[in-house]
């Protein structure tokens, strides 16, 4: 979710990337401006029904996305230190939470300016626990420390493989309805149901468009370095319901199609191997990840994280929306469900292997890897390799270990290729 992640651009940025940067900057600017006018500004978890605040035109920023951006700029360490030191949070909780709770504390001092991007202090919180339960605890802490309300959509967890049962959908739909009334009352704004329908449609257009773009990477060799997709995730997190995202995605689609037509790619070396990257990126270590992948001619053509934002529902149907928010995150689905989806992806994207980020912050994503690895190996036959890391805490990742694990994976992939050809 970081902005302009990866290596320092040597080439001119593609137009779509410029648009992303502009959109993100505008969203932050608007939030600060609203705050300055005395209007309410919210902080939200990444896969919350954004459609409601979008409809009410209330600015919302996203701590997970913000923490990713700060981490990618290597500015997270000091905040994490503050969380573990003065604030006394154990170092074992999610590093996004540590970073963000520290930021929330720091920005109470108007003179504080070290983090980038900064966020205005929130007046309310939007919490959906579809990604994990830690979010719930994290937001409880923010709410207590800042003395602000939480609007909560409890999205449950799909412990079995079937679609969410009726009683679950009803419970979630009722929460969305209550949230709409509560937010109307809180903001003093009238909820416009026609506009809501338009926002829902726009969100669907954007999700589908992004899905189409990602699928273009099924081609061998891929038109995109898979890591490039990380640069567009902010559109789906911060602006899933905005028209400006449609413009960006249409531009991006054009660029990818041009690469296909010209037989070019954004991957910076010859693509000898294609892998599925499992888990969040190690934002502070993206440069090293990418450089090493490039050196070993491995393109991480697809990853589960960038496809996690597809909240797919029927506009106008709240039940369908409830069901979508209950099953859109990687961590809201059972390991069987997720790893079978991954196996499909590995087949569809013609991957030679799977590279799994054992993320110290994220218990559930790691569980998927440990519990579901056999599903990948049995169904697809491709080898998997794990490496240790963290999305924000730089102390966990080891450059040497990453390279060794990748090297090991490459050797197996090479043998398999030779065996298949020989």
């Amino acid at each position: 979710m970081g902005e302009q992640v990866g290596q320092k651009p040597k080439r001119e940025l593609p137009r779509s990337r410029v648009l992303v940067a502009e959109q993100t900057a505008k969203i932050y600017r608007d939030a600060f401006a609203a705050k300055a006018r005395g209007e309410k500004v919210g902080w939200s978890t990444a896969i919350f029904p954004q459609e409601i605040c979008e409809t009410l035109d209330i600015p919302v920023l996203y701590p997970e996305n913000n923490a990713a951006s700060i981490s990618a700029k290597h500015l997270g360490g000091e905040l994490i230190e503050h969380a573990e030191g003065a604030m006394q949070y154990p170092s074992r909780i999610c590093s996004y939470a540590r970073l963000n709770m520290a930021l929330a504390d720091k920005i109470q001092d108007p003179a504080y300016s070290k983090a980038d991007p900064l966020m205005p202090s929130p007046d309310f919180l939007l919490l959906a626990n579809n990604s994990c339960t830690q979010l719930m605890k994290w937001y409880e802490c923010l709410s207590r420390d800042l003395g602000i309300p939480i609007f909560f959509i409890d999205c449950l967890f799909n412990y079995y493989e079937e679609k969410p049962a009726k009683h679950k959908i009803t419970y979630i739909r009722k929460q969305i309805e209550k949230y709409i009334w509560d937010m109307e009352a809180f903001s003093g704004k009238k909820f416009d149901w026609d506009k809501f329908l338009e926002v829902q449609k726009r969100s669907q257009i954007n999700s589908k468009l992004f899905d189409e773009i990602i699928r273009l990477n099924m081609r061998t060799p891929a038109p995109m370095s898979g890591f490039d997709f990380f640069n567009y995730m902010s559109c789906l997190v911060l602006a899933r319901g905005k028209e400006s995202t449609t413009v960006i995605f249409e531009q991006l689609k054009k660029e990818v199609e041009e690469h296909i037509a010209n037989n070019t790619t954004t991957f910076p070396s010859e693509e000898k191997y294609r892998v599925h990257w499992e888990g969040i990126a190690c934002w502070p270590n993206l440069g090293h990840n990418l450089k090493t992948l490039k050196n070993y001619n491995v393109n991480a053509v697809i990853n589960g994280y960038v496809t996690a934002w597809n909240v797919d529902y029927e506009p106008g149907d709240l039940d369908s929306m409830a069901s979508a928010y209950a099953s859109s995150s990687t961590n809201s689905l059972s390991t069987n469900t997720i790893m079978n989806m991954r196996a499909d992806t590995i087949e569809n994207y013609n991957c030679d292997g799977m590279l799994c980020h054992v993320n110290r912050s994220c218990k559930m994503m790691t569980f998927h890897i440990f519990v579901g690895r056999h599903i990948i190996e049995e169904r697809t036959g491709v080898p998997c390799a794990n490496f240790d890391g963290d999305q924000s805490d730089e102390r966990i990742y080891s450059e040497a270990q990453f390279e060794t694990r990748l090297q090991g994976l490459v050797e197996i992939m090479q043998h398999r290729k030779e065996a298949n050809h020989g």
Partner: protein, 374 residues
């Protein structure tokens, strides 16, 4: 009636070796269903004529669980998985698992691949308890659990049977609360380890049977003169306070436990099942009334308030925060707990609770320093 030391020793032995209890119930021809921490509708198992048995792991350095559970999953779930994979829970007809945290989300998958012979009955409690619909949702969720239990029991579970079990559970709660009060008048007899054993043994015995034994203990205690405790007094908060070694260290340092907010102990007994028309709805109502627990979403600082109240009411000198290793829900609450207890004039110490090691050396040093502070 046996004498007090015998009664206490019996419950100590139950707490120390749940496996024996499992074997005993199986030998009686009973079906036994495992109940994961912290809150499961065990009343439904009971109403089916089966024995609900707590699954709380134990001290073990995992040798096989690491295949499915990363090292940074809470210590208790790793040992539960280890025991499951090693066949130590053989004999359980199923396990009920409430998805209360991320470790449970993952465990629901790990259990299904790692312990294939013991079926998993998962459920999830609603966390947005303020919304109209949370209660109906949970009653429906319990309804699904009930159907699965009926399949295992081989017969229907009647509403009357559930009502009957609810009465037994509520009465058991009252008995255990009574025991906690009585214990404080006899801190010479009810050492930290014994207090723990009486409470923990509840997880491995049929509740009416357990309540009867604890009632007898309370009666026997009443026959003794009240003891004037001259040592220090503390309140415990966390998931569990184990191993026994840890509690021995308290006793060695003349520290008595006068109250607890432990998931394995008082959190089990402090919230009754409310009155109502429909038994599943009543069970759901209990979840809605739970408070001051790290796995329950609340907007207030209910837990520190409760811990402080417990400490003040029982004249405790300090608080021991028993922090389960890698239990994130508890870890998020740590700073608030530490700060608010300090503001209330209660010193606290944080002890890492780790089921993967028998070594309490670090805890010993910390507790020795702590007692000097009190």
């Amino acid at each position: 009636m046996a004498d007090l030391p015998e009664m206490l020793a019996e419950l100590q032995s139950v707490a120390d070796s749940p496996k024996k209890m499992l074997a005993k119930y199986l030998a009686q021809g009973k079906k036994v269903v495992g109940c994961f921490p912290i809150y499961t509708p065990a009343e439904l198992v009971h109403a089916a004529g089966m024995i609900p048995m707590g699954v709380w792991g134990g001290q073990v350095n995992p040798s096989v669980a690491g295949q499915y559970a990363p090292i940074f999953i809470c210590s208790i779930m790793r040992s539960c998985l280890e025991f499951g994979m090693l066949g130590k829970y053989k004999g359980l007809s199923a396990v009920i698992m409430p998805i209360l945290c991320d470790s449970f989300r993952g465990m629901s998958g790990a259990w299904r691949v790692g312990v294939k012979d013991i079926p998993l009955i998962a459920l999830i409690q609603p966390q947005n308890r303020e919304v109209d619909g949370a209660r109906e949702f949970l009653a429906a969720e319990y309804g699904v659990v009930k159907e699965k239990l009926e399949e295992i029991a081989g017969h229907k579970i009647s509403g009357d049977a559930i009502e009957n079990s609810i009465a037994i559970y509520n009465s058991h709660n009252a008995t255990l609360r009574e025991f906690a009060r009585a214990a404080n008048r006899h801190l010479d007899v009810i050492t930290p380890k014994i207090r723990h054993a009486v409470m923990k043994s509840a997880h491995f015995m049929e509740k009416a049977e357990h309540a009867a034994k604890v009632k007898d203990i309370v009666l026997k205690l009443a026959e003794l003169p009240e003891h004037k405790w001259t040592g220090r007094k503390v309140v415990l908060t966390g998931i569990t306070a184990e191993p026994g070694d840890l509690l021995d260290i308290l006793a060695e340092n003349k520290i008595a436990v006068v109250g607890d907010d432990l998931a394995q102990e008082s959190r089990q007994f402090r919230t009754d099942i409310p009155a109502g028309q429909d038994p599943l709805d009543r069970l759901a109502g209990q979840w809605l009334s739970r408070s001051a627990c790290s796995v329950v979403h609340e907007k207030t600082s209910a837990r520190p308030d409760l811990v402080i109240k417990l400490a003040k009411e029982n004249r405790a000198d300090g608080v021991i925060i028993c922090l389960m290793s890698f239990c994130d829900v508890e870890e998020y609450e740590y700073p608030l707990l530490a700060k608010t207890t300090a503001q209330a004039g209660l010193p606290s110490v944080c002890i890492d609770i780790d089921q993967s090691t028998e070594n309490s050396g670090q805890a010993r040093t910390k507790l020795q320093t702590f007692v000097e502070m009190l």
